[in-house]
């Protein structure tokens, strides 16, 4: 076999590998990583975000294969055209997440109409709208990204030392005066994912969203909290710092976040120009549960004294949120102390005085099921909390990592409007 034939054979193997990879992406888009577990749970987090580019990859691999087998076009036309059909079908099915974008937008509009009334868009002044994304999705932004606005980032600011841990936060602020921007210095406390046992601030807490919101005039605090040591979760978040690990429970985690809110009131609000009359709790996965407890629990007697009473909570933003804490991570279980359990159950905490909530959920999420979040939303609505649930078809867990994708753009489009309307 000469060198050219070997090279062609390697190209064929490479192209087939890409198409098999495309098939795996289709599987994960439709089913998610729940069935196969293992590494699939982690892969699922990147699938819907990269599926549009996978279309390009599969199309290119198919064309390369067709070129390599061009001699078969005359001798074996059926094989040649079958190859073309298979390749382009794999590419086409990978575009399903992108093609579902109009559904996401229609559904999001319906949710906003229900909560803010049918004319909610016209209530946003034009001078504010000019700072927002003008449309929920445009393809060029997907490829060339959403241009960043000038911001300041201060990293690793210490806010707690004790119990053998040190807790830090990063803060994202606009480089412009925030009073001229839609955010007007409103505070967003951003809580990272990681199943209460792993993860950290920074990259895996979607810094692109923090940067974007800072550019809109919000002061975004990406904070750490003590993590529960000694448990292994099958989808541990990466980059977990050692200095936050300890023998903690979820009560301790809420206490750590509470310490931050008190320091925010006394110290940090002045330093960073944070507007305490407009505070949001935002979180992802386990962080979403904690954000929910903070936002819904601040007016509960059980949590009296845990948080600063002088923060005016205007909304909660839970992304792929579990509704309640696993009993194993609480000091006592549901049977021995039902009152304590209920204090960490979002449906039990909800009441008509609570601020509105904006949920993010993918339908192919292998870690937090869509039905669980739909139930949580409807139960909170029954308790009188205004809720908007943004459903992203074929998206898995943590699919808001890349801000410019069809998922990220639609999310940010409604997020910035939700924040403005609830301020």
């Amino acid at each position: 076999m000469n060198k050219l034939k070997i090279f062609k054979l390697l190209l064929v193997i490479f192209c087939i590998t890409i198409l098999v990879w495309g098939c795996l992406w289709i599987y994960l888009l439709f089913v998610g990583g729940r069935q196969l577990r293992g590494v699939m749970i982690l892969l699922e987090e990147f699938v819907a975000q990269s599926a549009t580019l996978m279309v390009g990859l599969c199309v290119s691999a198919t064309i390369l294969l067709l070129k390599l087998f061009s001699s078969k076009r005359i001798r074996h036309p059926k094989q040649y055209y079958a190859l073309a059909i298979i390749g382009f079908t794999i590419a086409g099915l990978n575009s399903i997440s992108l093609l579902a974008t109009p559904f996401t937008i229609l559904h999001a509009n319906t949710e906003f109409d229900e909560v803010f009334g049918p004319n909610w868009e016209s209530t946003i002044p034009e001078d504010v709208k000019q700072h927002f994304l003008q449309t929920p999705y445009i393809l060029p932004a997907h490829i060339l990204t959403i241009p960043e606005k000038p911001i300041h980032v201060e990293k690793d600011v210490l806010f707690y030392e004790g119990e053998n841990i040190t807790l830090f936060f990063d803060v994202y602020m606009s480089a412009q005066s925030s009073s001229q921007l839609p955010g007007n210095g409103s505070v967003i406390i951003n809580l990272h994912p990681g199943a209460w046992v792993s993860g950290g601030k920074g990259t895996w807490n979607m810094i692109s969203t923090s940067k974007y919101l800072a550019g809109q005039g919000y002061v975004v605090f990406d904070i750490e909290y003590g993590l529960i040591e000694g448990f292994h979760y099958y989808a541990q978040a990466p980059d977990t710092p050692e200095h936050v690990m300890g023998n903690f429970t979820i009560e301790d985690q809420i206490r750590h976040i509470g310490i931050f809110t008190k320091l925010l009131e006394t110290n940090f609000s002045m330093t960073y120009g944070a507007n305490l009359d407009s505070v949001y709790f935002m979180g992802r996965s386990a962080g979403a549960h904690l954000a929910g407890v903070m936002g819904l629990g601040c007016n509960e007697e059980y949590h009296n004294g845990t948080f600063s009473p002088n923060l005016n909570v205007k909304g909660i933003i839970p992304l792929y949120s579990p509704s309640a804490a696993p009993e194993i991570f609480l000091k006592e279980n549901k049977t021995t102390n039902p009152e304590m359990y209920d204090a960490y159950d979002l449906t039990k905490l909800a009441d008509p005085q609570d601020p509105p909530a904006l949920f993010f959920q993918g339908t192919s999420d292998g870690q937090v099921s869509i039905t669980g979040v739909e139930t949580l939303e409807s139960e909170m609505e029954l308790k009188g909390v205004q809720c908007c649930l943004l459903i992203f078809p074929f998206a898995g867990h943590a699919n808001d990592f890349v801000l410019s994708t069809n998922i990220g753009q639609v999310w940010v489009y409604y997020l910035e409007r939700f924040l403005y309307l609830t301020q």
Binding site: F46, S60, P140, L144, T145, M206
Partner: protein, 144 residues
């Protein structure tokens, strides 16, 4: 596939024109930003250019006389273009994901995106231009 020489000429001209337009709009995007009308138009032109580039490779594959020296060069450029597309997608994915992480500087992230985007349409423009130039060499093509 029955395509006449003059039809191919038009196809290559349109492909060249739209590839160049896409590159110009790509530069303008960073000036104008994600504007509604511009973004919508840019999106349509971008998709059409991409499809035309795919068609360009397939037409070359069908119509080039691969035993002729010129045909062979254009055919190999076609291979190069497809391989660049695959490389470009990896660069694009890498650039977009790294842009949302704090491990690398924008000096790494943006060039990855620019190389893949502008490289793709530049390659398409060059291939379309060469096709137009070599269309007058009858031995390089299998016209019916």
């Amino acid at each position: 596939m029955r395509i006449k020489k003059n039809q191919m000429n038009y196809y290559f001209l349109i492909t060249l024109g739209l590839n160049l337009t896409t590159m110009v709009m790509g530069i303008l995007y960073f000036v104008i930003g994600p504007d509604l009308i511009f973004g919508f138009l840019f999106g349509i032109i971008l998709v059409i250019s991409w499809f035309l580039d795919i068609g360009l490779i397939l037409i070359d594959d069908f119509k080039l006389a691969k035993n002729n020296a010129t045909g062979k060069i254009l055919n190999r450029l076609g291979y190069g273009f497809v391989c660049f597309q695959i490389f470009g997608v990896f660069c694009m994915v890498g650039g977009l994901f790294l842009l949302n992480a704090d491990w690398t500087s924008p000096l790494v992230q943006y060039p990855l995106i620019f190389i893949s985007f502008f490289g793709f349409f530049l390659f398409g423009s060059i291939l379309a231009y060469l096709n137009i130039k070599k269309l007058d060499i009858p031995e390089a093509w299998n016209f019916e």
